[in-house]
Symmetry: D2
Subunit: 396 residues, 4 copies
């Protein structure tokens, strides 16, 4: 029924027992008081994870893609301009979604492995004297390349050009794993999901929306019903839902928030940094390179690692799965065949990470990679055992 | 954590243990072979429940409302005409959705408690000489009034007028509980969900789409990405998903189909008829009236029951919940305050139904309804014990 | 995998979701600090349910029968005399166990349906001038007949004759459902189990032992190792176990105690009385008789009900199971064929009880019992709806 | 609620999801046909794991210690002689149990780390001209030292001296993980439990009993009731239990047997050998010594490893738990402080084993052991990746 080994894909993540049990709740009447008393505090507590007091939490029974769609259909009209940089698969897909919805998408092409180019955003915004650009769209953590972008710098560029565009951020694979400052960075819509840092099953898009973005709803002409912010907010105001709510995920979310707060958000972020750093030490020990171009871009939730010239990353991830029953992330888009990915987010311990490193080493050895068995593991062990004076806290 | 009493809302339904366990699956890599081998047969087997060989099954991680939205955005363009009859809350909401998406909605107003008016559809279609009407939208089972419409008769009306419009059917609260003939009735899109007859958690819209509707995709201009049939079909073709799939629901769906086929679809339908008939016997014994206007309209999944003049149905359902911990369906829309509903679909036995009848009797007595304690129960008992020569089969 | 209908056997009882989840804990090292921190408070809190400050809680991974065996092997020697009254299957079995262990068992035969005869105990003890009788053994709640005995009266008889015998009480099917006063009644060993009032899976014998009984350990010559109090107490003293502990049941016990304390023990007892009284009202409405001879003997956890002359209770319980999928208790021992039993203990609501009553009515009608459908249900409904000013509290 | 890391204690073992779900079954009536139909095939299938056609399977809701007790109380009388060798904690405890039950225990003292001394058994049996020795007791897998004894050789010794004693074997920590030949080795009673190779929760003692041992029941004078073979066999004959059965464990056992047979018993044994061999390669790479004195004694389910002189094995296992959240077996009895143990039985993959090796390496490094980080891991990786042409089969 299930593999016993953890998965090392960058989401959905390993679900801890505590959350599997929390999601096992039997059907309840979502129009009854119990649901109201459960749901409203969940919305309130989720704000803390986004780092907001001003923002409004809006959830949909959908995946992150649905969250992207909600962000544009609720705030924009056909023909509106948006500014986006493309530097990976997920920024690419968001661009595609905007184009299909009839938006004028101004694309800044960047090499994969780089992050959001604040300077080029600044140029483009400065050039947009008529303020046609209604929104700047940024992928905080580009899951395909293991790159984290500096959202604060993008906000700085927008402020410098005194441009009124809204700032939309995809934080699907970063929220609840790396620091996020919705208010501090002046984000207008942030889009996340249940199946990454929240360690739950897939099925809930989780958005945070600023008052400015809410105001944009009034004039937005793109059609929407399922993803309509107004219907959801009206229903939520009295603790309800405009249609059948994903009860199990909402109960799961309540417990997930408890787990995150029990560990402490800063400890959660520190743990992700520590696990990621262990993977990076191993990568260096193997003599391999990260796709992320420089340390300030390193993601703490996923590492994309180039295979040596002449090797095929797909053969590696296939072999790891078939020979050892362990799933790693494949190379997506431009990285297909060139890089594999180690997801290290969610409910994970250093012991689990070491098992992933040991596995990929075996797989590499089997395929005659020029690496030494145990070398990456040893580098990560040395880092793990010396990097923390206090006991490793597991998330569960 | 959960009430021990069953719910008698018309969905989401009581989840049997077997499905709760099936949905408890740990995270797996949805790009790995296991998922492919699980998902494709699920799609194939679902066809049997819709009664189709020609249709294509398409699922989305969303609620039934999302399924409605997918049906129109994938096949229609702004300004297209659709024909709909309004005779309850759910037909009303589909109308609203169409209007928000810029369609020309031709509405036939019908009294709540009636069903789809095949004759009036025939008239409207005959009058539409230019074939502007692109689709006829029908709610098979109007959950608000407990009315089942005759889809075959609607198809007959369409055929009689030789009109090329597509036929879209909402079977959210009827599929897998009452007979459905996608091919036989010439349906073009049928929309259902995971949380009713399939006895699962909320979170998956399940559609069946005819070749004719698929062809309409090519010219449809309404924007869509999350709900795009093409993306989903392309990904499904190789066993994948265009974004993160709702893994737990897909494993749940696999087990749900097994349960339905083990019981036998005809036995499932017979069981629902039998449970519904027991509720109707009780209603008669209480001297109360169904909202459904005549026997051929009676739904086998939900009964909406008028409270006597001078009583408030909301007070009744509130009291049943507060005093006895049992949830019944409230009166929706026009029926608010006038009728309560007993959901009797999904994983349910006659024993469970009797507990619901006994409970609502106590609640009615507490509120001084002119009913006799035990009278409805006795009528249902008499029916249950004499209506079946063979042992009652539970769904679990 | 499981029936959806509740069981109405007098244990094991319906396990509430909350406890099923609590028992689903993954393997942990029972020699690690977590286990110690879990187990010791469980032992301490269990005292409250027994009503003791002086007693010691000792558990074994076994059934209640194992608990009986532990009570005698730890305190008695071959040839020791014990005094017991036989008035049902469970008092009978305890007698049998004592005989097999070479004890001199002085049996007072009583009619089934009566309780512990304090007056006859008094006589026997008074006659035992040499104090050969080492222990008086009493079944608090005789599950076979639905009779609760007055333990305080037995203690009174012992005190009146100033006899130093110990008092051993089987409270397997009463503890955590009906009041129990270990200290107040001067009990020396009370034996219970996990699968009745504690609402857990079968597998843990739970004993409470007085200082006097602990002292008797020192001279007891009956052999024992698995059930040795000393080994268990020594290991427990440091939070451990002398062999592998039943981890899942211990975690379940922790949650069970939380549930009992959240509801409040007095409320738990009141709920059991109320449910039992509803069943008794129904029995009277059917014109049937309880096996328990008089009201002060009525058990609040199980009712044994005589079938009319000429009927076979086994046919009734078989039919209820086969035709309706509901389990009732069969007639045991002398009551075989003559009485059926309705268990009404553990995690149960009045709504659930009504479903049991409705079911047995159908089964009786099917077998041509002279009863009126709905009559027992109506009597219980009337009692349930008027007996409590406050909302029914479910145990879960 | 639970650690995410696997445990490496030699039982209870990591419970695979499939079995956790199987054990989550709701209460059912154990007197109903469903239980009968479940339980009888479980008894029958268990024979295959013991390697018997002649033996009778008898289970008790107890731990392995209870199984030991059942083996002697059902077949022996006070004063009977038994022959045992003491070479570890578990042989020691069985001896203690026999002494407490008034048996004449003839003990052959052996160094810890050695196995059952067939030659010395032969001597003792040959010297017992009067055939006073009623049974020879052997621990197949001494969990405290990681030593597997040669049961066939013991049988050979018994046969050589033509001695009629029965042969009792403790296979608690070997059954379903290492080959066992009940019939082939002429075993009379074999004692195991649910929580090791069967991968279930603790709580069921599982015995296999030969016709010869069953015949001994007739004359055995040791008292027993809870553990009485006759009561259990009589009840089992009609699919029942003499008291409340551990329903959840029986359903778990059914699924466990399915899993074992799906993998294939020989594959299960091969997997355990392979995992054990990986641990032994690591041990050698660290320069450490096994407690087991020679390769033919190596256990495939647990390795006991001496720490270097001057180190304390308790400090090591404590540190591994406190710093990394991983449980290893402590040194028991004579090995306390001198050796730690790595359990490698049950539901385990090579990936999981590598995580255990990586963890203990970190712990050793933290405590200044003279070992090189990654060295043991590399040795095991090299072995794992080259030792199997086919994909690693996980048990789940």
């Amino acid at each position: 029924m299930s593999n016993q080994n953890p998965v090392f894909i960058p989401g959905p993540t390993n679900i801890p027992d505590r959350l599997r049990l929390a999601m096992q709740v039997q059907t309840q009447d979502h129009r009854a008081p119990d649901f109201v008393e459960t749901f409203s505090p969940v919305l309130e507590d989720t704000k803390k994870v986004f780092g907001t007091k001003e923002g409004k939490i809006i959830t949909f029974p959908a995946s992150g893609t649905g969250g992207w769609e909600a962000s544009v259909t609720n705030t924009l009209s056909p023909g509106d301009s948006v500014l986006v940089a493309r530097y990976g698969m997920f920024s690419h897909r968001w661009i595609d979604l905007c184009q299909r919805h009839g938006l004028d998408v101004r694309i800044i092409e960047c090499p994969w492995g780089s992050g959001a180019p604040a300077d080029k955003f600044a140029e483009a915004l400065a050039a947009d004297k008529e303020h046609k650009i209604r929104a700047v769209l940024v992928t905080h953590n580009e899951t395909a390349t293991g790159v984290r972008s500096d959202i604060g710098a993008v906000r700085g560029a927008m402020d410098a050009s005194d441009h009124p565009a809204m700032l939309f951020v995809d934080c699907v694979s970063s929220l609840a794993s790396m620091p996020f400052e919705f208010d501090g960075w002046g984000v207008d819509i942030a889009v996340s999901g249940s199946q990454k840092g929240f360690m739950l099953a897939t099925g809930m898009a989780i958005l945070c929306v600023s008052p400015k973005a809410l105001a944009a709803m009034e004039t937005a002409q793109l059609p929407r019903t399922f993803f309509d912010f107004r219907d959801m907010m009206n229903a939520n105001a009295s603790g309800g839902f405009p249609y059948t709510p994903p009860l199990q995920l909402i109960y799961g979310m309540r417990e997930s928030l408890k787990m995150l707060f029990e560990e402490g958000l800063n400890n959660v972020y520190a743990r992700h940094f520590r696990l990621a750093e262990g993977v990076r030490k191993a990568t260096a020990a193997w003599g391999l390179e990260l796709v992320a171009q420089s340390p300030e871009l390193y993601s703490d939730t996923v590492s994309a690692i180039y295979v040596p010239d002449g090797f095929d990353s797909n053969a590696l991830t296939d072999h790891a799965f078939n020979a050892y029953g362990v799933s790693f992330g494949i190379g997506l888009g431009e990285m297909n065949g060139k890089a594999f990915r180690i997801g290290h987010l969610g409910s994970l311990t250093d012991v689990m990470v070491l098992s992933g490193l040991a596995t990929i080493e075996m797989a590499m050895a089997d395929l005659d990679y020029p690496i030494k068995l145990g070398s990456g593991v040893a580098a990560a062990q040395e880092y793990f055992r010396t990097s923390s004076a206090t006991p490793m806290q597991s998330a569960a």
